[in-house]
């Protein structure tokens, strides 16, 4: 037995994304953000996108380029405070933003990746984040039903990969990547180093390749990925 080869190019992978897609984008700040896939999505210009991402990156970086280019309709996020452009796009109504508590966003994505319909939690009770949410009663306590999130596409940044799509991540560049890599119909991973099958120990794999559809090696690590001097 062998394992299927899923390697492709950044261009070909992104070309599979249609207008109107819901796209999960990995990353928390710079680490783990798939900047190259995002730049290609800007170049190809797909429209009316719904993005799901922890944060809006910073002005001029990452998904801010998609927002600035008018490609984003809705953003589901936890915190956009480092991106003044995103805040002004929100305030002017150019994009719609749904905020979610950070760990609950992680769990909703994970629930989507785990094939669950929802999670039940007390997080947000007594705050405005609970407003309008479905409530369920368990053992006499009222709790919130937070529906699972799935996406048409997940854009993942991984450190190492093999052609089957087994992935590993560097340090805090994990964050939302392993979760999103389970939760989309089409999972595209840009990877810093692509090795042959067998180059990753089965114990080191963090995202099993069975979840991943397309693997594109980065032949250059652009400045986007570098240290941000504030």
């Amino acid at each position: 037995m062998s394992l299927p080869d899923k390697t492709t190019t950044i261009e070909a992978a992104v070309a599979r994304i249609p207008d109107g897609a819901t796209i999960m984008v990995g990353g928390f700040g710079v680490p783990g953000t798939p900047f190259t896939l995002i730049r290609e999505l800007v170049r190809q210009g797909q429209k009316d996108l719904t993005l799901i991402k922890n944060d809006a990156n910073e002005t001029g970086m990452g998904i801010d380029l998609l927002i600035a280019n008018g490609q984003v309709k809705t953003l589901i996020s936890t915190h956009i405070g480092l991106n003044a452009n995103a805040i002004s796009a929100l305030n002017s109504g150019r994009i719609r933003v749904e905020f979610c508590a950070q760990g609950i966003l992680a769990e909703r994505i994970r629930a989507g990746g785990a094939g669950l319909a929802a999670i039940v939690t007390d997080i947000g009770l007594g705050t405005e984040l609970a407003e309008g949410k479905q409530v369920v009663e368990m053992n006499g306590k009222r709790l919130l039903v937070e529906n699972a999130l799935r996406a048409d596409v997940a854009l993942i940044h991984a450190d190492r990969a093999d052609p089957f799509g087994n992935l590993t991540y560097a340090a805090t560049a994990r964050n939302f990547n392993p979760l999103m890599a389970m939760a989309a119909k089409m999972v595209i991973a840009e990877v810093e180093t692509l090795g042959p099958l067998g180059s990753l120990s089965p114990e080191a794999v963090e995202t099993p390749g069975a979840f991943v559809d397309h693997v594109a090696e980065l032949f250059e690590i652009s400045e986007d990925y570098g240290i941000v001097r504030r």
Partner: protein, 222 residues
């Protein structure tokens, strides 16, 4: 499949069922008979075998002398990794099953109904060990096929109009491989697709506990 001597009915069923696995698939083979198809897969076929206790990329089964005490499949067989294998916990393992990443599961059966209902985990009063992972495999794999003897050890049909035993999943079985035939579950009920070598349509019809649609065309044999 290149055996010199003729295959017996069981081996023929297994070899035929193995052809259900095609390039690119992620596949879970149920404990027992379905696991046997591994020995009939072409060496160069790119498929990913999954086992629910936490592994993708299952390689050869190992004899005790060469086994790794920490590396088993869900049936307890000592297996080996291949280049590209991955280990993961039970939550990730079933996340893969439930989220639609499992292209095919091949399961054993006590009973299959003509609407695709499957019963394979409990015989009330006799056998109630718990369902293990069967319910999720049957309910969530993209395609569910069954491999089973056509009748039980008493000669009673296992393909029925309705299941009598507690269900594993409703309306999920797409195809059944038996020692007598390959049968599809269609919107109109069981439909004969292929016959085992030396088996007649009448034999299959008589061994089946529900109406069997027999196409007008030639029936291939396996």
């Amino acid at each position: 499949m290149s055996d010199a001597k003729p295959l017996d009915a069981r081996a023929r069923m297994i070899a035929r069922a193995a052809r259900e696995l095609t390039a690119g698939m992620v596949v879970n083979l149920g404990i027992g008979l379905p696991t046997k198809v591994i020995n009939h897969l072409p060496a160069d076929l790119p498929v990913c075998l999954h086992t629910e206790n936490g592994m993708t990329g299952i390689g050869a089964t190992l004899p005790y002398e060469r086994a790794d005490r920490n590396l088993i499949d869900a049936g307890g067989a000592y297996v080996s990794p291949i280049p590209g294998s991955a280990y993961f916990d039970s939550a990730v393992s079933f996340a893969l099953v439930r989220s639609g990443r499992l292209d095919l599961t091949m399961l054993g059966a006590f009973e299959v109904a003509q609407n695709g209902d499957l019963a394979n985990w409990k015989i009330p009063g006799k056998f109630s060990p718990g369902a293990g992972g069967a319910i999720e495999l049957a309910q969530k794999a993209r395609r569910v096929v069954v491999m089973t003897t056509h009748t039980d050890r008493h000669g009673n049909p296992k393909l029925l109009q309705q299941c009598t035993l507690p269900l594993t999943a409703q309306r999920r079985v797409a195809r059944i491989f038996t020692d007598l035939a390959v049968i599809d579950v269609t919107a109109h009920g069981f439909e004969l697709c292929e016959l085992a070598t030396g088996v007649t349509v009448q034999e299959v019809t008589e061994a089946t506990g529900a109406p069997l649609i027999v196409p007008d065309t030639d029936i291939p044999t396996f």
